[in-house]
Structures are given as C-alpha cells and as structure tokens.
Symmetry: C5
Subunit: 100 residues, 5 copies
C-alpha cells in the first residue's frame, strides 16, 4: 500500500453501470519523509475519508477485495484512514495533531 493525502474528488455520471454509487477520491502520494509526490491516484472510497486526511491506498486486484467491489472495474481503493506513521521510532504523522 502507499500513503496518500486526500486532495479532492472526481465526479462522473456517464460510466460503467457497476460504478454507480462509488465515491472517487483524488489522492496524492506522500513519500517516506511525509512530502507530497508528483503522482496521484483516483481511488474508490469505502471508509469515508475526508480532504487532507492521510490514507492507505491499495492498487491492482486488491482494490476489488473491498466489500461490494468484487466485480467493479476499479484498480485503486482507499482501504484505511491513517492514525499514525512512525519511521525510525520517530512520528512522521499523527492524525490527532493534524485535527487540532
């Protein structure tokens, strides 16, 4: 999985019928030092993530393991809202600090 920050949304009315009701988030990847990378993904959201939150994104066939997505043509999904990231025993990110 990659760490990403929710940046926005993508809306479509004309799409594969199986995608009806799926929320698409535009998430931008974050590197191992917490900086935004010039690389993003449009991911199906099933955990209710909001703008600016850090999330875990699964890509490939893993994205279809999310409940009710088994037969949807999605190749990326937000699978978790991150509470904390620790690297070398130091805190890189904490949702609690972010929410203050």
């Amino acid at each position: 999985m990659q760490i990403a920050k929710v940046r926005g949304t993508v809306v479509s009315t004309h799409k594969d019928p199986s995608l009806t009701g799926v929320k698409f988030l535009l998430v931008q990847f974050v590197d191992e030092e917490g900086r935004l990378l010039p690389s993003y993904e449009v991911a199906a959201d099933s955990v209710g993530a909001g703008v600016d939150e850090w999330v875990l994104v699964s890509r490939g066939s893993a994205a279809r393991q999310v409940l009710r997505s088994e037969q949807r043509p999605v190749d990326a999904a937000v699978v978790a809202i991150i509470d904390t990231v620790s690297v070398d025993n130091r805190s890189l990110y904490s949702k609690r600090d972010q929410d203050r």
Copy 2:
C-alpha cells in the same frame, strides 16, 4: 484509476479473435494540476468517450471487469467520462465548461 484525455484511436484488423468489435482509444494521462503527461495508454472503450473528453482509465485485471471483457486480453479500459475534478475545493476540470 488515472485521469486521461482522449487523443485518438488505434485500428487493427489482424488481432486476437476476442477483440473483434472492441474500440481502442489512445488516451494521454493528465497530472494532478491538469497538464498532459508524456505517457499514454491504449484503452478499450465501453462508455462511448470522444476526442478531447477527460476520462477515468482502469488498468490491470480491473479492465476485464467491464461487461463482455471478462476474457479479453485487455489491460486498460475507459470506465467513466469525467464531469468534474476538484482539488483543494477548487475546480480543476468541468466538462460543461469544456463543451461550450
């Protein structure tokens, strides 16, 4: 999924038999600020996207989740025509503006 702009078409008569009737679009990827990237995909189209429209492209096994593509050797599909893309609560793209 990645955001891409439809740029053209690819035509082939001599191909895997299962690909008969599949329309191939050449789509060029767009970055998170709306600029064209030097990277493209030839994607099977099932939503009737036209040149210059922005679309969502699914890659990998997800492309075979589109109806009737289950056993086709395709690794990319246009799965949605995009209406709007919003980043940081600003509009990055709106099909309505584009269509004027």
Copy 3:
C-alpha cells in the same frame, strides 16, 4: 495496452514446460508521437507479427487471456497488429504506408 514496434526475437530451449511452442518477440515501446522509447518487453506472440510492424502489447494477467496461454507464466502478449494510429485527427502511423 501499449504501442510497440517488433525489433527481434528471444529463443530458449531450457524453460518452463508450458512455454514449449511459444514464440517470444522483443518489442520496443513507442511514445504518443511515434518515437521509440528506451523500454521493451519480451512478449508471447499469437498473431504472427513480423519485424518492424507496430503492435498492441497487453501486460499482466491480460496476457494469459490469449487462447492456450491461460496457464502459462507469461506477463506480456502481442494481441494485435496495428493498421492505423490517429492522434488529434492526424495519422501517426499507417501500416499501408510502412509496407510500401
């Protein structure tokens, strides 16, 4: 799928038994302006493509959707010989011109 130009062949006698009889083409990727990229793939051929032809290459599990490849350990396949590529309503490639 990616557009690629057939550049050569790879031959192996000592291989996974399921690969007996499979023809391996070395294909080099082409960018959206028709230039060769410094990136290639060795792809199983089932459409009879020849050197210098432009082809569509499918990668990942899609390569195993080709008839009789379902259980072969191949991750790339030539799935179509390209007739024409059009970008922005201009012709980027035409097999007929190439064959003259």
Copy 4:
C-alpha cells in the same frame, strides 16, 4: 520480490473490516548494491519482522497468497526475513553481522 529494510509502522483504527489485526510495516526498498532507494511500501507483515531487518516484499495479487489474507485488500506483504544476500559471489548483506 524486492529487498527492503523495515523502517517503521503505520497504524489505523478506521479501515476495511477485513484488515483488523493486520500489522502494517513501512519498508524502504534497497538497491542491488545495498543502498536505500527513495521508494517505500506499506506491507502487511505475517513473519514478525522488526525494525532494521532486511525482508522480501511481494506485491500485487501475490500478497494475498499469504495465509488468511486471501480476501484482504492488501497489495504488498512481507513474506520473508532475509538471512543473506550474495551478489557476484560476494556477501552484500548478512543478518548475523547486522545483529551483532
């Protein structure tokens, strides 16, 4: 598989229900000369790897072949703790030396 060094952990309470109990390690990739690369993965751990250990990381659908992960939306897993890496008959890494 890629060689990676365990750098830290990612914690999430709000996630896909199937991910309950899964430990997420932040692992940073190592190149063929043993140097850290600017690229990481958040991988599900089932072998009990600890910070600073070198591990093998499998990505894609392979990550779901780990026991009890078959239906989890994970696209990366730590599948082995590395004892030794040898390149050109020289030792690149030895866990025993590292543990001293």
Copy 5:
C-alpha cells in the same frame, strides 16, 4: 517478460511456510542493447539458472503459473534460460559464445 542476468542469491530461513524449498535468485535487468540496468528483482527459480546466465523473468500473477507455485506469495519467477537474443537481425546475445 524482461531479460535479466543472474547476479546472485537471497537466502531466508524465517519466511512464509509455502516458500520452503524455493530458490531465490537476484537477477538484474538488461536493456534492449544488452546493458545492465540499475534495477533488479528477486525471482523464484524453477529452471535451474546459474550466475551470469541471461534469463526471462515473468512478474505479477504470471509467476504463480509455474508448477507448484500456484499458491505461493511470489511475484517474480525465472521462467526460461535464454539461448539467443536477436535485434534487427543482429545477435545481441548468444549463450554459446558466453559459455566458451
């Protein structure tokens, strides 16, 4: 598939139980002109490849199509030992010349 040169081995005793008995080769990728690339893979070997040989490497779910690997968490496998590579009708590599 990608062309790679066998450079070394990776040994692990503490790993996913299904990986017992699997030999891991460190293979370094080769470009379309025969030069080593700064990119490698640790691949399961089932064809008995040796150091310095050129091989074909399959990645992704294809790696699990090798006999007895169907349920192993491997995402790369050596599937063939290469005899010859020809590009533009010239020989890029010949195992026979190499073995002299």
